[in-house]
Symmetry: C2
Subunit: 201 residues, 2 copies
């Protein structure tokens, strides 16, 4: 698709195709869809995106997206303020919230340590995590990071920093996914699930 | 994903997910991508979409998208003005242009006759097609519509309308796709490819 009938559509396709996972064919389909549907639809889309980008605020305490200075989870009296779950990013908070299994607070790092991508500990919200643990009555920090090399590095770095503060540190369980079959699990996962076995009583 | 951390992101996800083929998970990923990238990126996207929707014009002659009153293809002296290719929609023009095999002009119907979707001949650019054939020296009209029931109905309707004008009418060939294997072709396609066989000399 290299011959666009107008500069306007070419420009729109170029911009839409910059979004992750959207190619030029899909971008063209979306642009033509907007052209065919009511003008208001395009305006409510562009307004929502502009508002999102210009007005979004981040919770001063946990760095999650928030409508106010302190987010709903941090403000809530129902959440256990002695329990802190450390995650990489905002979708991780949403994923854990959707499990309905966690009632403590969060701390969003905003990424993981990655020398390859030029992300060092100072680029992440690690200092504010340490401060938060120092100045609040926090009994347990749960590290809920992915299971990759870089996430493990980040995990170890945070554990080292937290050690002097005498707080309980835990890591989410690695093992066979629920519904997963043993024979198809990779060896490392299976090994971890045996190491991390729990009492069946 | 039902617990969004802010109204702004919820609103943006709702709007993005209205686009065809984009679900709520993808919409969230796109919204978070915009939040992470520079403000300018969001602005150039929203500006491109607004410009597309408010400033796009259509060629008065062929109804293709155009930057000017008459599109580049209709204006071009290099295109054969006695040859007219009738297509359903704008992407079809682009697809045929990309083949590099066609050097005539186009006529975009803007859809096909579909009683189920409430689209009647008067909703399409059929009258302007007839007028165009009447008032210009057009020797051949090529019907390049899809191979569906509704497209066939549209094709027959146009043929009936064009008949009194004594213009040559042709239909693009139906048959085995290039690179396609005979044994996997459906019976109707194979039947059509035999009926429509051409001399191999």
């Amino acid at each position: 698709m290299n011959s666009y009938p107008s500069k306007l559509i070419e420009n729109a396709v170029n911009e839409i195709a910059k979004l992750p996972g959207i190619g030029r064919k899909t971008a063209l389909r979306l642009a033509l869809h907007l052209l065919k549907s009511k003008e208001e639809n395009t305006f409510s889309l562009t307004n929502a995106l502009t508002d999102l980008r210009t007005q979004t605020r981040y919770c001063k305490q946990c760095h999650n997206i928030s409508d106010e200075e302190i987010c709903g989870i941090c403000q809530s009296a129902r959440r256990d303020r002695t329990l802190l779950c450390v995650v990489e990013n905002i979708p991780d908070v949403m994923a854990i919230e959707n499990t309905g299994q966690y009632f403590g607070q969060y701390h969003v790092l905003g990424g993981i340590i990655s020398p390859m991508a030029g992300i060092s500990p100072s680029d992440l919200h690690i200092d504010s995590l340490i401060e938060r643990v120092q100045h609040n009555e926090i009994k347990e920090v749960i590290l809920a990071l992915s299971s990759t090399m870089e996430a493990d590095t980040t995990s170890f770095y945070i554990q080292k920093k937290l050690k002097p503060l005498n707080v309980k540190i835990s890591v989410i369980a690695r093992g066979i996914p629920v519904g997963g079959e043993l024979e198809y699990a990779d060896e490392i996962t299976l090994g971890r699930s045996i190491q991390g076995r729990i009492s069946a009583e």
